[in-house]
């Protein structure tokens, strides 16, 4: 019983880790981009879930709540995928091959996202819309009208400043009106409440133990996501393009594959998966502007340990790290060792680490130790590509 419970809990902890790391593994593994905003994409997914839930509440009343999560999943996916797409198009695409720069840029973006959900209201939204309209519209016009690199660059800068200025003025003017509808924050800095649908509350009792539905749902969702991702990458046409581009970018271009579109799509896919993860974690905890930060380091560890660009490695690493953290943190190791007299000192040792904080310390030490003999992760990329 204890064993079953441990296995289940280990897997459920791992599944959260895996679903959160999946998108990251794709973006990092296939594109070499360090996306520190991944946590914030998770957060966006959670907020999208909240928005969907609120919408259901408003339209259907409490009775509509039981189904919202089904709709929230695709919405969360699409919203975060779109934001990811915007990030890729506007910033990341200039930074390919400069992983450390992507790291800083995405961190900057994550700060903006965090503050965005705190202070977004209609006036800010309109301001941003005005900016996008002016800047990208202007860009499109300029592209048609102007030739020559030099003039275009200058015009772009002016356009950027101009549209930024107009947008800020718009926002400030709107912000000063008394219309609370415009200035009332959508989410505010407070945590928002996402309540799991009734059918996900409670669980399956087995013996004295109960398998929570929410956990089962997340495990199932993780499996679905992994399978779907696998299917998409292995079976679909775009998946084939993505694989081709990551394995041999220049040859893929020569075959007529639009590599830029593939980049954008890959990034959007990875971001979208983060959105789904965000939707999933609303079942476990609260939703606030900072929730993304809880996942970022752990998920990166999963990717590093798993080996870059390897789905199987990511799965194994998530299972290993999640289960270990759980076993150490819950004191299971210590519990298992105590009956054996000879191992008592070892049991004491594990008891010291049997809190969540200390389990993290221990797992990190293990990861460093692991990297001593497998520097490229469990499944290192093969062949010449592994060298520099």
């Amino acid at each position: 019983m204890l064993l079953l419970q441990s296995v289940f809990n280990g897997i459920s902890v791992s599944s959260v880790l895996l679903i959160a790391a999946l998108g990251l593994a794709i973006i990092f593994g296939l594109m070499g981009v360090i996306n520190l905003a991944h946590g914030e994409f998770i957060m966006l997914g959670a907020y999208a879930t909240f928005a969907v839930q609120s919408g259901f509440k408003a339209v259907l009343g409490e009775s509509g709540l039981s189904l919202y999560i089904i709709f929230a999943l695709p919405v969360a996916f699409i919203v975060t995928a779109l934001v990811g797409l915007a990030l890729e198009r506007s910033v990341i695409r200039f930074l390919y091959g400069r992983p450390l720069d992507t790291l800083l840029a995405t961190w900057g973006f994550s700060l903006i996202l965090r503050q965005f959900v705190r202070s977004v209201d209609w006036s800010l939204f309109i301001g941003i819309a005005v900016f996008c309209l002016l800047f990208f519209g202007g860009l499109a016009i300029l592209r048609r009208r102007l030739d020559g690199q030099q003039t275009r660059k200058g015009a772009n800068t002016i356009l950027l400043l101009l549209s930024l200025g107009i947008a800020i003025v718009t926002r400030v003017l709107l912000g000063q009106t008394d219309a609370t509808a415009l200035t009332k924050p959508w989410f505010s800095a407070r945590n928002v409440d996402v309540t799991a649908p009734n059918w996900l509350q409670g669980g399956v009792p087995i013996g004295s133990f109960q398998f929570p539905f929410a956990r089962l749902f997340i495990i199932a969702l993780t499996i679905v996501c992994v399978v779907a991702t696998y299917w998409f990458l292995q079976r679909s046409r775009w998946g084939l393009r993505i694989r081709a581009v990551t394995q041999n970018r220049s040859m893929s271009a020569c075959l007529g594959i639009p590599t830029r579109k593939v980049d954008a799509l890959t990034f959007a896919l990875g971001s979208g998966l983060a959105g789904i993860a965000g939707c999933a974690i609303t079942l476990l905890g609260s939703v606030g502007p900072n929730i993304g930060q809880n996942y970022i380091v752990d998920t990166f560890m999963v990717v590093v340990v798993g080996g870059v660009g390897n789905l199987v490695g990511t799965i194994v690493a998530a299972l290993a790290i999640g289960t270990l953290t759980y076993l150490i943190g819950s004191g299971m190791f210590a519990l298992l060792l105590t009956p054996v007299e000879a191992l008592n000192p070892l049991a004491d040792f594990f008891t010291f680490f049997a809190t969540t904080s200390m389990a993290k310390v221990m797992v990190f030490a293990l990861i460093i130790a692991f990297l001593q003999f497998r520097p490229s992760g469990i499944f290192p990329p093969k062949g010449r590509t592994a060298e520099s």
């Binding site: 720069d101 965005f116 990166f300 200390m358």
Partner: protein
């Protein structure tokens, strides 16, 4: 030919000595200004701010040393910063309390933990401020560099290490007072209360020469053969290896030095802000350190100092006036520096200068070229056009 070169060498030496002299004079003048003019001009509060930002500038120098010169982006310097701060704060704690520092009694700890014992000694604490972070950095660096983990993997691991230290310090209430951290303000040291305006002035004045000493150390490290080797490591580690140098040793050393510098900055910051807590090991703070250097300009040293001062004053100003805007601003700063101003303000000024002189821009690449696949790069450039 020998005659010619020897003349060349002598001329070069003289020139070098001259620039060095000029630099020295400039530094002394600035130092005197900081020490004597600023306390007269600024209110105690502003002076304290300046003092703390100068302490942060010390940290920025350390970051510049490893990032700007050696190409290692550490996202975990908060560890070393905090270790330095804790080392000094532990000593100050022991100075106040007759027996145990207050918080111990709160958690029912009756005996001073062993690792606190040596901190009774002031010289030990001062040495520990530098040495403890250095040793931690050195050990971590050795384990990582030995396996040729570099680039983003290194950054990610430093960040993970940061999180672990944060958890550890946060979790060990009985040992170091957990989240609350250690206070320093009310302690008396050599007859002066740390938190008093007199005490703060002393620490301010102390910060200036230490900043200069750190600057001198970094200048020394980065100017000679050693410094050139760091640049070589950054630009092409594999070439260095084939030239017969062992990169692990050099990187470990420079990481340890950088850690020690962060420790000094942390200690000075701690006494001037009155508290050190695990908050100094939050992820965001360590990444902010990086942005100071990026804003000022990598591999310039002065850029790091300026960046730390400018960004922090901007932070104080903006978060005063428009607290909501600060994160937007900081986020935009990251994006801006990476996309438009990758060489930082100083680097930009310099490259503009060079452009005027030579008619073409000088591209300073501060990343190891090996991280990029040249062919891919070219194809990208091509497709973007």
């Amino acid at each position: 030919m020998t005659a010619e070169t020897s003349i060349g060498t002598v001329g070069r030496k003289r020139q070098r000595r001259q620039t060095l002299l000029m630099e020295g004079v400039a530094v002394v003048v600035i130092a005197l200004l900081l020490i004597f003019a600023m306390p007269a001009l600024l209110s105690g509060f502003r002076l304290n701010l300046l003092g703390r930002f100068l302490a942060l500038a010390i940290v920025a120098l350390g970051i510049d040393l490893i990032w700007g010169y050696t190409g290692l982006l550490s996202l975990g310097h908060g560890i070393f910063f905090a270790l330095g701060g804790y080392a000094l704060a532990m000593h100050l704690q022991l100075r106040t309390a007759e027996g145990l520092p207050d918080f111990f009694t709160l958690y029912g700890v009756e005996e001073l933990p062993w690792f606190w014992q040596p901190f009774h000694s002031f010289p030990f604490a001062v040495v520990a401020v530098i040495l403890v972070p250095s040793l931690v950095a050195g050990l971590f660096g050795y384990l990582v560099f030995r396996n040729r983990i570099r680039g983003v993997y290194f950054s990610i691991l430093t960040q993970a290490a940061l999180l672990v230290f944060f958890n550890f310090f946060n979790g060990q209430q009985e040992l170091i007072n957990g989240t609350n951290g250690l206070k320093t303000d009310t302690t008396e040291i050599f007859g002066v209360t740390v938190g008093s305006s007199q005490g703060q002035l002393v620490f301010y004045v102390l910060t200036v020469p230490l900043l200069i000493a750190t600057y001198a150390l970094c200048r020394w490290l980065t100017s000679g053969r050693f410094g050139r080797l760091l640049i070589a490591l950054r630009d092409d580690e594999s070439r260095v290896r084939f030239s017969g140098y062992n990169p692990t040793a050099f990187k470990t050393l420079v990481f340890a030095v950088s850690g020690g510098i962060a420790g000094v900055g942390g200690a000075l910051y701690t006494v001037q802000s009155g508290i050190i807590s695990p908050a100094a090991m939050e992820i965001a703070f360590s990444i902010e350190m990086v942005i100071w250097v990026a804003v000022g300009g990598r591999a310039t040293l002065i850029g790091g100092i300026l960046g730390a001062l400018v960004v922090n004053f901007a932070k104080t100003f903006l978060s005063d006036q428009y607290p909501e805007v600060w994160l937007f601003f900081l986020g935009a700063l990251f994006l801006l520096v990476v996309t438009i101003l990758p060489e930082g303000v100083l680097g930009w000024l310099r490259s503009q200068g060079v452009k005027q002189m030579l008619g073409k821009s000088k591209k300073v690449s501060t990343y190891s070229s090996l991280e990029q696949n040249p062919e891919e790069e070219r194809e990208r450039e091509n497709t973007e056009n």
